[in-house]
Amino acid sequence: MILLDYLSVALLIAGAFFFMAGTLGLLRFPDVYTRLHALTKADNVGLGLVVAGLAIQSDSLAGAGKLVLIWLLVLLAGASVANLIARGAIRRGIRLWKQ
């Protein structure tokens, strides 16, 4: 194992941790807004770390670029989903959680 491999392993494991945090948030948080917050942030960071860990393993610049492109697309989806669902939920009168 060379140094790059260690870095990749660390990034992948950090990514797995963020994915776990996102799932926990989806399961444990009290309303749709807080769940949205857990999901669309933690998961996208987790995917970013996994992508970074895999990109430094890839043998060509184009391969790494493709991974980053996939991540950017997921980020775009996450951002638009968060906006659309939060606005839709407000409009439909789903109450915000208070203690």
């Binding site: 392993v9 992948l12 749709v32 998961d43 989806a77 996450g78 669902i85 439909r92």
Partner: protein
């Protein structure tokens, strides 16, 4: 490295199964849609890991399609499939 990739793919798959609980539970359609968002993001990660582990670059293209479809599904849900009169006490 191979073992780490497969272990992580399995771990993410377990995350997906845990997310199923939110689909069953609800309580609103939006919560169920959020779970599918989780599935989309996690599936992309799993596919990228498997592509690396198996040395099968075609799986990266599948991940790319998943990433694009994730946005489309949510927009379709909000615009078309989400009943306007829904409240928090939605049964089902």
């Amino acid at each position: 490295m191979q073992i780490l990739y497969f272990t992580m793919a399995l771990f993410l798959l377990l995350n997906l199964i845990a997310g199923m609980w939110r689909v069953l539970r609800g309580p609103t359609a939006a919560d169920r849609m959020l779970a599918t968002q989780l599935f989309g993001t996690t599936a992309v990660a799993i596919l990228l890991l498997l592509a690396q582990a198996d040395d099968n670059p075609a799986l990266r293209d599948v991940a790319l399609v998943f990433a694009i479809l994730a946005a489309v599904t949510a927009v379709a849900f909000v615009r078309r499939a989400w009943p306007v009169s829904e409240t928090e006490d939605d049964p089902a």
